[in-house]
Structure formats: structure tokens, C-alpha cells
Amino acid sequence: MSDTMWPLWEVFVRSAHGLAHKHVGSLHAPDAEMALLNARDVYTRRNEGVSLWVVRSSDIVAAEPDTPEKAFRYPTYFHVPEGVKHL
């Protein structure tokens, strides 16, 4: 009964002008055009977005960064002398 599986696509939606695309989920589709059509139906039924991206899941390269905390990268790390403004 099993079918030959369609590839998996990751779906990204930009919810409004000026915002970045955000990952919303995934779906199976045989090609990019059908992936876009399915993404429209599955992930934007309520005007959730102004722009859609679909990317083959197998084309995404991922890692989990394991960098040490560098507190000095944040402005609050530095003590500002009493009375000093606009810093």
C-alpha cells in the first residue's frame, strides 16, 4: 500500500512587510510549485503572510552552536559612572 514518498519541504512565512520570514512547519510535495500551493493551503488560510518560501529540507545545513557565554558582548556588562548620560 506504501507510496514512493514525496520529498520534504520546510515552509517559511513572512507575516508582514518589514519582518523576516519565519519557519512555520513542513510538508511533502513532488516539486517546488506544488510545495508552494500546498504551503499556501496549509499554512496561510487566515492571511498569516505576505510572502512564502519553501526549501527542500535536504538542502538545509544545520548545527547547534555551543559557544561560551561572553558577557562583555552586552552593553550592561560595563559600569557607567554616576551622572554620565547618553551612553
Binding site: M5, L8, E10, H23, P30
Partner: protein
């Protein structure tokens, strides 16, 4: 939702350093993601739970679809179409979440069609009148919301994220159902009787949706420790009754339970015991519509095969992968 292959199932057994890390994440409320180590039993339990949930969304389209062509107005038809389409979407979100556990969509669908996987018992009841569409939205989707809101905080990331999307859409389903009931209760005596009849038939199956009593729910404790179940069946059931009883009252519907009454000391409604034999019979495949539902799913799957084949053939001929 994730591209990396899931890790092979914990060959080290349950006691290694990965297990301690897993338990620590659960305790600290850090979500478990697909590439993280997880105990085989956690993976298996989640896969069963999420895939059953996905199957329920898909099979759940059938009872309501029965009324699509006979909705009483064009507006009701559009609303019901949108609702049924949402259910299909919910099924897809959930299949995607389940796939991150390392089982393919095809395997899950085969398991449903071959009766190796289950779906919610409620969808094995027939929709005899238009009022049933109201009762399903109000009661069945209402019960689903109570079940699902806690799951937006469950320990498995892809499941929690899918539940957040679903819960956002679910309240539309409940409201439209209640609105059907409100409209009927403002109608003719026949329409009011139809609404009451639908409540009479859907009440107990809805109460049973939360699963067997805690005393007969052996797997619950482990699932609660893993935070893939956050409240007990009986606690959720109580919440459903407390929430729904006043909604029935407000529009003049009578819940078919002679034992139902407000208990001021407990600050909860007391209510009767469902017929658990009926529940187990339906689960075993002997409900009013079990055969019909699976036959409809099989027919849809088989009748759609040529579309899947054609799309794949087109991609092989023209696609980038050719």
C-alpha cells in the same frame, strides 16, 4: 520539521549519561528536539500519541463532511467547509511532527488503513441531523481544546509547536458549533427538539473523549512524568463538564445526565458515570460507524493514488532531481 536524521534508538539502554541529560531537560522544562537523545519508550509513546492525534483529525473530517452539501445556507456551508479544511491542516501539522520521530508518513497512513493505529472513538458516531454539526463543534471541539491547550506546553518541541497552531484555530470551530445550537434553540419547536436530540446523542461520547478513568489508565503516570500529558483524564473531564454545563443552560438545552448538579462544597459539577463498556466496544472497532469511516479513508487513499503517481512522474520527467 527538521532535516537531520534522528539518532538511532538509544542502544545504551536507559541508564547512560544521555538518560540523565534527558531527565534533567524534562525537569527544567527544556523542550526535547528531534536530534536530542531520548529513551526508546518516550519516542514510541509520543509517536503513538501524535500519530493517533493526526489520524483523528483526518478521520474527523468525515462526520462533518456528511453535511457539507446539505448545509442550511450558503454561509453555513462556507463556514463548515473552512472548518473541515482546518481539520485536514491540523492532520498535516501533526503528521509532520510525528515524522520527526523517525517514522514516515506512509508508514503511519498504512497503520491507520490496516487498523494497526487508532483514532479518537468519537468519530465513529453518525451525524444524523444538521444539529449534529453544531453539537460536534460545541462539544467535540470544546473537549479537544481542553485536551490540547496543556499540550502546547508539552516536552516535545515539534508537538508543542503544532499544538500552538492548532489551538489558535480551534476556538473558531467551537464557536461556530455553539452558534449553530444557539440559532436552532431560537427556532421552531422542531428545531429546538433537533438540537436537544443532538446533545442527547453526543454528550456521553464527548465525556468519554478524555479516556478511561484515572484508575484504569495505566500509562498516564509515565506520560505525566515525561510531560507529554499534563493533566489526568479525570481532571480534564471535570473541567469539560464545569465549562459546558452552564453553556447548555444558557440556551435552554438539558444535559442528559440526571446526576449532574453543582456541588458548592467542591466548587465543581458532580456528574454521572459514562458507559465505559460502550467506550471499549467502540475502541475495539464495534462502534456505529467504524467500518464506514475506514472504508471511506481507504477509498480516498486508493482513488487519489493516480494523482500522487502523476505528480511524481511529472517531477521525475521535468524536475531538478531528474
Amino acid at each position: 520539521m527538521y532535516t537531520q536524521l534522528v539518532q538511532p534508538d538509544d542502544p545504551s539502554g536507559e541508564g547512560g549519561p544521555e538518560a540523565a541529560g534527558f531527565e534533567d531537560k524534562i525537569d527544567r522544562g527544556v523542550t526535547i528536539e528531534p536530534t536530542d537523545w531520548m529513551p526508546a519508550a518516550y519516542r514510541k509513546t509520543l509517536l503513538r500519541q501524535i500519530s493517533q492525534h493526526a489520524h483523528s483529525e483526518i478521520v474527523g473530517m468525515l462526520p462533518e463532511a456528511n453535511w457539507l452539501t446539505r448545509a442550511p445556507s450558503l454561509e453555513r456551508k462556507l463556514i463548515l467547509l473552512a472548518k473541515v479544511q482546518d481539520e485536514g491542516g491540523h492532520g498535516l501539522y501533526l503528521y509532520s511532527a510525528a515524522e520527526t520521530l523517525g517514522t514516515s508518513r506512509d508508514e503511519m497512513i498504512d497503520a491507520l488503513l490496516e487498523r494497526r493505529a487508532k483514532y479518537s472513538s468519537i468519530f465513529n458516531y453518525p451525524t444524523l441531523t444538521w444539529a449534529d454539526v453544531g453539537a460536534i463543534g460545541w462539544l467535540v471541539d470544546g473537549a479537544a481544546i481542553i485536551n490540547q491547550i496543556p499540550l502546547t506546553q508539552c516536552s516535545y518541541g515539534p508537538y508543542a509547536r503544532a499544538m500552538r497552531r492548532i489551538c489558535k484555530e480551534e476556538s473558531f470551530h467551537q464557536r461556530q458549533g455553539y452558534d449553530v445550537m444557539v440559532t436552532l434553540m431560537h427556532g421552531t419547536p422542531e428545531q429546538r427538539a433537533m438540537a436537544q436530540d443532538a446533545l442527547d446523542r453526543w454528550w456521553w461520547p464527548s465525556v468519554m473523549m478524555f479516556g478511561p478513568p484515572d484508575s484504569d489508565s495505566p500509562n498516564s503516570e509515565q506520560s505525566m512524568r515525561w510531560k507529554i500529558k499534563l493533566f489526568s483524564n479525570d481532571a480534564l473531564r471535570q473541567k469539560f463538564v464545569d465549562q459546558t454545563a452552564p453553556q447548555a443552560d444558557a440556551i435552554g438545552l438539558v444535559i442528559p445526565d440526571p446526576e449532574l448538579r453543582w456541588n458548592a462544597a467542591r466548587e465543581h459539577y458532580d456528574f454521572g458515570t459514562p458507559d465505559w463498556n460502550e467506550f471499549y466496544e467502540v475502541i475495539r472497532g464495534n462502534g456505529p460507524c467504524n467500518r464506514e469511516r475506514l472504508a471511506a479513508r481507504r477509498a480516498a487513499h486508493d482513488d487519489g493514488a493516480w494523482v500522487r503517481d502523476a505528480a511524481l512522474a511529472y517531477e521525475c520527467k521535468h524536475g531538478v532531481g531528474a
